[in-house]
């Protein structure tokens, strides 16, 4: 395994969030009764013609701008010809030689903690195309049904260079891309409904070898977990094949989540000749500077730009910045917390959002937008930690109280429940003296060299203070008294 290098390229089909289809006026809404959202154009009746939906082009331009790519001034729609019952025209309108988006790159964080590193994945191209319908093989008494609701749904196919070197990098890329397309509002990212699906081109080669190995393409992976499992299995399989003296044949394979294995769908020999040629029903797509400028003006601050600001201005780590820019909702929440707690408290704000809040939301299965604790409430809470009104431990209580609606603000909860920290050194000293007097045994143990006994004494003081004593002051006073 160690002498092998894995090479992965990914093709992603992102369904564009347009109201109507890419070449017709029919609705793209998911889940309607079969064939109720297919008009004459989608059904490919004789004589119908496609008309390009400019909103789909807007999406492609948004994407191109957000990855620093070239938006092609001229791109061409081509017909990809093949017969299949859910492909009504007998060809798919796609783009071949001249795609709408060329180049660009995506910067992502791979792994976490000390092992985290930054990775740049180059994009080859992104092109517009239409989706096919669906074949339904159940419940038709031996026949197949066709649902053409999805036929003509706009897709952006996003293709990377073979830049990824592990399944972790592949997943990190897919997650970053998934975050980006949702961020810029061109795709709802719903993987169960097929709005975002990946094909992984996987090959292996001996480390140090310049040429790529023969690749196999794993089709239609609709979850990050399947993406990882499929690649891991495929890599393992390919290495095993080569080590046993067999050659890898170029092929398209399918991943079976039940067995965790990939199986060959077709090899290069029986690959289709799609007979691509420019679609004579559609003029070349011309995108002028004006169109690009308009879209540029509509773009939100991009995750990359936000990440940079979070590290440079707020002093967050690259990992924290990446986590907090995973989606626009998280970033917006975090920024609202910082707006209340102040930029100087950005790090605790990040921790509260990423750790405490995230864990609580996760436990209840809630989205950031559904959080019972508002960003303003959390910011107010963090302010009270920062000014020593409460300790971190008490803060967790206050957070829980806010979560349960026991107060409108952290201050109200602290006040109502008497949680204000004791910072009066006289009061703390009295408590310390009390505890020392009552726990002679612990004192003796500490003096005999048992460090643990100190913690027990701290605990006793905190208990006596009902948790409200400033922990640092308690520590300092205890140390002083015991040393004296």
């Amino acid at each position: 395994m160690n002498q092998w290098e894995v090479v992965i390229g990914i093709e992603t089909h992102a369904q564009l969030a347009t109201v109507s289809k890419i070449f017709s006026g029919a609705s793209t809404a998911f889940g309607a009764e079969p064939n109720t959202q297919a008009c004459a154009v989608d059904l490919a009746l004789p004589g119908v013609l496609p008309v390009l939906n400019r909103k789909a082009v807007d999406c492609a331009i948004r994407f191109g701008l957000s990855i620093g790519a070239e938006v092609a001034p001229k791109s061409v729609f081509a017909r990809k010809n093949y017969f299949y019952p859910d492909l009504p025209k007998g060809y798919q309108i796609s783009q071949m030689d001249l795609p709408v988006v060329v180049g660009g790159s995506l910067t992502l964080q791979v792994g976490s903690g000390d092992k985290a590193y930054e990775k740049v994945v180059r994009l080859t191209r992104a092109h517009l195309e239409e989706d096919a319908g669906k074949s339904l093989h159940e419940d038709f008494h031996g026949k197949s049904g066709i649902d053409l609701n999805r036929a003509g749904t706009p897709l952006l196919e996003i293709v990377t260079e073979p830049d990824m070197r592990s399944s972790d990098e592949a997943v990190a890329y897919a997650k970053a891309l998934h975050g980006l397309v949702r961020w810029i509002g061109i795709c709802d990212g719903n993987m169960q409904e097929g709005s975002f699906r990946c094909d992984a081109n996987v090959s292996v080669r001996p480390k140090g070898q310049a040429e790529f190995g023969t690749r196999r393409e794993i089709k239609n992976l609709n979850s990050f977990r399947f993406l990882k499992e499929a690649i891991d299995y495929e890599v393992h399989w390919q290495i095993n094949e080569i080590e046993e003296g067999r050659r890898i044949q170029q092929a398209t394979v399918l991943f079976d989540p039940d067995t965790g294995e990939t199986r060959t769908m077709r090899t290069k020999e029986d690959a289709h000749d799609y007979r691509y040629f420019p679609d004579p029903d559609l003029l070349p797509l011309m995108i002028g500077a004006e169109w690009i400028e308009r879209i540029k003006g509509e773009l939100p601050e991009l995750p990359g730009q936000k990440r940079e600001r979070f590290t440079n201005v707020l002093g967050l780590s690259a990992y924290d910045a990446a986590t907090l820019t995973a989606s626009q909702e998280i970033a917006a929440y975090f920024e609202a917390v910082v707006a209340v707690a102040g930029q100087g408290n950005a790090k605790p704000c990040a921790n509260w959002v990423m750790v405490d809040l995230a864990a609580r939301l996760n436990k209840e299965g809630l989205e950031m937008a559904e959080s019972p604790v508002s960003a303003q409430q959390l910011g107010g809470l963090i302010l009270r930690i920062a000014d020593n009104t409460i300790s971190n431990n008490i803060a967790k209580k206050v957070f829980e109280a806010l979560w349960n609606g026991e107060g409108a603000t952290a201050d109200e909860v602290i006040d109502k429940q008497g949680l204000k920290q004791i910072t009066d050194s006289g009061a703390i000293e009295a408590l310390v003296d009390e505890v020392l007097a009552a726990n002679a045994a612990n004192v003796a143990e500490f003096k005999a060299g048992k460090e643990k006994a100190f913690n027990a004494l701290v605990g006793q003081v905190m208990k006596a203070a009902k948790g409200k004593a400033n922990p640092q002051q308690v520590n300092d006073l205890l140390k002083k008294k015991l040393a004296g």
Partner: protein
């Protein structure tokens, strides 16, 4: 009334000398009597036609009628019309009732208030020059019923020539309006590509197909064209231009030289070998007539015109092979009664549903688009196409309109060329280049050879339809070739 011009019919209807129902009935009765022999119509629906006629009469009575409201016309069966069987001359669509109107049909039935008499026979999917590839049998030429009417708009041509309809729609991919017009002594116009919407016009070769009028005169064509044109947002290749009145230049003109200053370009490639001598004589006589009307002639050259037939027979089949993929037996149209698996269903349905000429062109088209052949055939043909278009650009620097024969021969005998596709393809040798360049072209009657009509082709610059119609109209004012009628049809 049967032989009246559209203008005369319009006046008669407006003056209430005849109602649209009476007029339509006149033609429907004539179709009933003569069509079994001529086979120009594949679908006639008296009830539907008369319902349209009644609506037109109501509109005339209410004073909301347009210039052609209530006038009956024939529609080539390539145009989808809601509720009408729309077959495109194929077994594949013999059972297809269109649920929607082509834009051209919607315009004619709607705003213009025309009455459709029925759907006319045609070569299967417009692939042919004799109307013999139709699933519904050949159409007979009213001038000689042993001969072809030309194609692919052969049914429309025969219908108008036999006065089963005062005018008809056609479509022209490589000459399919002009060649049958020439062979049946009609005036036919193929507009500039993009002037008439292709939405609902069943595609043969998308980059070449263009609908247009077929009628007895340039004036009738202009009136009918007025109802067909206009930007259509449902056709991405439709051109967004201000609407024109194509009768604009047809008014009275003083003097006996109405075409003074007109420069006629005569491409030397159209006046060489390959054309029947009698046809050529009629064409030359027509050009001499034009000189009498004030025009001057200049020789021009279209040096790449000999490449137009080969380039066309790469590009058109390539597009057709893809356009006809939708006829797969899955959603509508013909499906083989018995089949094993999915592939078998496709193969049997298409093998049984398409005729020989359509299959030949699908095979050619599939071949030229195949991996490894695409550059040598398809791309090369596209380069030739550009050269051909450039030839015209050059030629129009020294002339206003180009003239020559429409077809190298008069109507040939049924079956004469049916077994020899190359001979058949050469019928369109003078017309194809016009489609490749996207230019407007016309054919007008200019005499007879052996008792059969000869057509003169007029080719204009882009959007010069008005000029072409004027040039044709002045000739028709000075001559009566276009007014001659086949004596055998009473």
């Amino acid at each position: 009334m049967i032989h009246a011009s559209l203008k005369e019919l319009s006046q008669a209807l407006a003056a209430k000398k005849i109602s649209s129902v009476e007029l339509s009935t006149l033609f429907l009765d004539r179709i009933q009597r003569l069509n079994p022999d001529i086979n120009a119509f594949v679908t006639v629906d008296r009830d539907k036609s008369l319902a349209m006629a009644r609506a037109a009469d109501a509109s005339i009575a209410a004073g909301t009628a347009g210039p052609l409201t209530g006038i009956p016309v024939a529609q080539k069966d390539i145009f989808c019309a809601e509720g009408w069987t729309t077959t495109c001359g194929s077994k594949m669509l013999a059972n297809f009732v269109s649920p929607y109107d082509a834009t051209v049909i919607a315009k004619m039935h709607g705003e213009a208030g025309l009455v459709s008499l029925g759907k006319t026979n045609m070569d299967e999917f417009a692939m042919g020059s004799s109307n013999e590839t139709s699933f519904f049998g050949p159409v007979k030429n009213p001038w000689d019923r042993a001969r072809v009417p030309g194609g692919s708009s052969g049914g429309s041509a025969a219908a108008v020539a036999a006065r089963l309809a005062p005018a008809a729609t056609g479509t022209d991919t490589g000459g399919s309006i002009r060649q049958p017009a020439a062979l049946c002594n009609l005036t036919g116009l193929k507009p500039t590509y993009g002037v008439v919407s292709r939405y609902g016009m069943i595609a043969f070769a998308s980059s070449l197909d263009q609908g247009g009028p077929m009628a007895a005169s340039a004036e009738d064509c202009a009136l009918l064209l007025n109802t067909m044109v206009g930007f259509d947002e449902r056709d991405s290749t439709s051109l967004d231009r201000p609407t024109e009145d194509y009768t604009r230049e047809l008014g009275e003109k003083a003097g006996d030289k109405p075409l003074n200053g007109l420069r006629i370009g005569l491409p030397r490639e159209f006046f060489g070998e390959g054309c029947d001598a009698e046809v050529m004589a009629a064409v030359r006589a027509a050009i001499a007539e034009y000189e009498k009307l004030g025009a001057t002639c200049v020789e021009v050259s279209l040096p790449n015109s000999h490449l137009s037939v080969p380039a066309y027979y790469v590009i058109a089949p390539a597009e057709a092979s893809s356009n006809l993929s939708r006829f797969d037996g899955v959603r509508y149209g013909y499906r083989a009664p018995e089949y094993g698996n999915l592939d078998d269903m496709y193969m049997k349905s298409r093998a049984q549903g398409f005729g020989a000429e359509v299959k030949r062109r699908i095979l050619i088209g599939t071949y030229v688009l195949s991996h490894g052949y695409y550059d040598a055939y398809y791309l090369q043909a596209q380069r030739i196409r550009r050269l051909i278009a450039n030839d015209f650009v050059e030629a129009f620097k020294s002339c206003d309109v180009i003239m020559g024969p429409t077809s190298p021969s008069t109507a040939f005998k049924l079956g004469e060329k049916a077994a020899d596709p190359v001979q058949m393809y050469l019928s369109d040798i003078y017309t194809i280049a016009v489609n490749l360049a996207g230019l407007p072209g016309m054919s007008i009657p200019c005499g007879f050879a052996g008792g059969l009509p000869v057509g003169l082709q007029l080719i204009g610059n882009y959007f010069a339809e008005n000029q072409l119609l004027n040039v044709a109209h002045r000739y028709q004012q000075a001559t009566d070739w276009h007014a001659r009628r086949p004596e055998a049809i009473a």
